[in-house]
């Protein structure tokens, strides 16, 4: 009986990791009638399966298998829901604040006399009440709930752009390097080494104003979208190398596979080989890396705003809330908790989601 469970995992794993060539032939799992809709986990399949093997063979694509595996991972699902919640909050920020009845720019504290002469909320716990769920901001007196919702929108927007651009360039560079090899590989590789040698935090701090100066004259007030673009570009400039290296390493090992050689022999162009043979096999790595990259970018962006070189007031931004709250932590520590806890929850959920995605796509990795 050891034969079947022992054999199954190897078959199931093959199509998911690297070998797309295998997928077409062995993307097939056995399923007993009771398990018709669920994916039978190899280690749990029982001897009874033996009898039904011949009768019940259901073809599944690697993607379906990964999805079935992901669905069984409870932590992964919970984290996916949390992440989806944050993304929905970011997307529907205007709707949420409209329903809530406040916006992120009105100075409620000053208009309604909710701040004392020191600029601190009059009510206890940072001015939390039925009108202002998360209290009001000391100093300017904006509504913290509205500020947080819009802040998440700004930060996630920037980080998402950075992640998408970095992943796109990283994949392109990795594919080209790995496939062409030789001189191209060497030159591009040394260039990415050089970029990796830059102290990233200093680079972000120093070059954001330079990029802004490329678009607007320093004596003018720059529009918000230019700052947004500059932050995206500066983080993107140092964001693509690690993924590029990973993809390159994978492509190097894939390039010598039989199915790539077969495609080559049958006259496929390099473009076609890259698109149809190599790319589908690296996408699982790419997806996992992208899910791990995004929270890093969110915290980096918030860090820049915290340092005062990212988004500027009065644009609502997650990192700016920390900068603001850090000035008032002694008198109004409540303010710190809302952006802080929201960010910790977001990053934990995203990291665990990344792990779950990796487990689902590539069960071979042992943690």
């Amino acid at each position: 009986m050891m034969g079947l469970p022992g054999l199954l995992p190897r078959f199931l794993r093959a199509p998911l990791g690297l070998d797309r060539g295998f997928a077409a032939t062995v993307g097939v799992t056995m399923s007993s009638p009771t398990q018709a809709t669920t994916y039978p986990e190899p280690s749990r399949s029982t001897g009874g399966a033996d009898a039904t093997v011949a009768a019940e063979i259901v073809g599944r694509s690697p993607r379906q298998l990964a999805w079935l595996r992901f669905k069984r991972d409870r932590t992964g699902i919970v984290c996916a829901v949390i992440v989806a919640f944050f993304i929905l909050v970011a997307v529907f920020a205007p709707v949420i604040t409209w329903l809530y009845g406040k916006n992120a720019y009105t100075l409620y504290g000053q208009d309604d006399n909710l701040l004392n002469s020191y600029g601190l909320p009059v009510k206890a716990n940072g001015g939390i009440d039925a009108d202002h769920w998360f209290g009001i901001e000391p100093g300017l007196g904006r509504d913290i709930f509205a500020l947080l919702v819009y802040g998440i929108r700004t930060s996630l927007g920037i980080s998402l752009c950075v992640t998408l651009l970095s992943v796109a360039l990283g994949v392109c560079v990795g594919l080209v390097q790995g496939y062409l090899g030789g001189g191209t590989d060497y030159v591009v590789g040394r260039f990415s080494d050089l970029m990796m040698a830059f102290p990233s935090q200093l680079f972000f701090i120093a070059f954001t104003p330079v990029i802004i100066a490329m678009f607007v004259s320093p004596s003018d007030q720059e529009p918000t979208w230019i700052r947004f673009t500059a932050l995206v570009l500066v983080q993107f400039a140092l964001g693509w190398m690690s993924l590029g290296r990973l993809v390159r390493a994978q492509v190097l090992s894939l390039r010598t596979r039989e199915y790539v050689e077969a495609a080559h022999l049958s006259g496929a162009s390099p473009g076609r080989i890259i698109r149809r043979e190599l790319l589908p096999n690296v996408w699982s790595t790419v997806l996992v890396q992208a899910t791990l990259l995004l929270p890093l970018n969110v915290t980096a962006e918030a860090g820049l705003s915290f340092l005062g070189v990212g988004m500027q007031k009065p644009t609502p931004d997650w990192g700016l809330m920390f900068q603001d709250a850090a000035q008032y932590y002694r008198s109004d520590i409540t303010y710190m908790f809302f952006p802080g806890i929201a960010m910790v929850v977001f990053v934990v959920a995203f990291n665990l989601l990344g792990d779950a995605v990796r487990d689902a796509l590539d069960p071979r990795t042992v943690r």
């Binding site: 200093l202 701090i205 918030a302 910790v344």
Partner: protein
């Protein structure tokens, strides 16, 4: 070993020259008018002309860069006066030589980064070792949960909370002040404990995870099993055989992390109001002080590259195979 070091140092010099060239180009050639950038919002033609002359912006960019590099190695005469050997120019804002400002500020950052790194290596590797020794126990699970949370918090969130709790409310630790190694070595250390602890938190998880999986891998190696079969105690085998095999990769990971350690130190400095390179970089940027920005950038890059060579040398001492490849 000497050949290995020479090769690494030569490589480092090439990287640093390239970084300086790229940085110089980005600062002084990319913006349409770098003088206007450093002149800021309230600029008049006189100051603009002065800045242009002081920076030597009337020359072509390669010539400017050449003069800048000559200044670093040999010193150069500037409008403001002679500037001796490691000359990074004069700061616009303070009119001080950039080099002396850097010399004043770097001990804070280096102390913070070194203490932070020491703390996270001890805690991270320690957690990983105990988890590997007690696989599957409650300790293992708690340690992984703790380090996951640690990885997901931000310095700028827990920093103020830590000051509030440990310095202001409980009064256990100093709220962090700049080190002064010549006059007050003890105070330099105690003043850095809280910032270094806070900074270390985000690094725990990576090291405990990596150490744990490396140790688990090492413990199943043949030589470890042989050592156990010969009758060596499991403690001895764990510490002398398995740990030694796991140290190499951990040092490699540490080398790759140096840049983020430096980045973490910048954020921590700012959070705790310390006056190090990070704070200097931020104020240089807000005052658009180009020579100072350039100086901090090059100094930071050089620090990371040098630290990387030291890490590599340690690795080569531990694992002789590295020297040959």
């Amino acid at each position: 070993m000497l050949r290995f070091l020479v090769r690494r140092v030569l490589g480092a010099i090439v990287i640093l020259l390239l970084i300086s060239a790229v940085t110089y180009f980005l600062f002084f050639a990319l913006p349409a008018d770098p003088a206007a950038l450093s002149c800021g919002k309230n600029c008049n033609p006189q100051t603009l002309a002065l800045i242009r002359k002081n920076l030597g912006l009337d020359e072509p960019v390669p010539v400017q860069y050449w003069q800048y590099m000559i200044g670093i190695f040999l010193g150069r005469n500037m409008t403001i006066g002679h500037c001796s050997a490691p000359c990074f120019g004069y700061s616009f804002a303070s009119q001080q030589p950039v080099w002396s400002t850097l010399m004043n500020r770097y001990p804070t950052t280096v102390t913070l980064a070194a203490m932070g790194a020491l703390i996270f290596l001890v805690i991270g590797v320690g957690l990983g070792l105990i988890s590997a020794a007690r696989q599957g126990t409650a300790f293992d699970k708690i340690a992984s949960a703790v380090s996951l949370t640690g990885q997901s918090v931000q310095i700028y969130f827990i920093g103020p909370l830590a000051i509030y709790l440990f310095a202001d409310t409980l009064g256990w630790l100093s709220r962090g002040h700049d080190p002064d190694w010549t006059h007050d070595p003890v105070g330099s250390i105690t003043g850095m404990i809280l910032p270094a602890m806070v900074m270390s938190v985000i690094f725990w998880s990576n090291y405990s995870r990596q150490t744990r999986s490396l140790m688990v891998e090492q413990l199943s190696e043949d030589h470890v099993r042989t050592a156990r079969a010969k009758g060596m105690t499991s403690r001895y085998v764990f510490m002398r055989y398995a740990l030694r095999g796991a140290m190499g990769p951990i040092i490699t990971i540490f080398g790759m992390d140096l840049s983020s350690v430096f980045g973490g130190a910048i954020i921590t400095e700012y959070t705790f109001g310390l006056h190090g390179l990070g704070q200097l970089a931020v104020s240089a940027v807000t005052q658009t002080d180009l020579p100072l920005e350039m100086g901090v950038m090059l100094f930071g890059a050089a620090a990371i590259v040098i630290a990387n060579i030291i890490v590599d040398a340690c690795y080569a001492v531990i694992d002789p195979r590295i020297r040959l490849s």
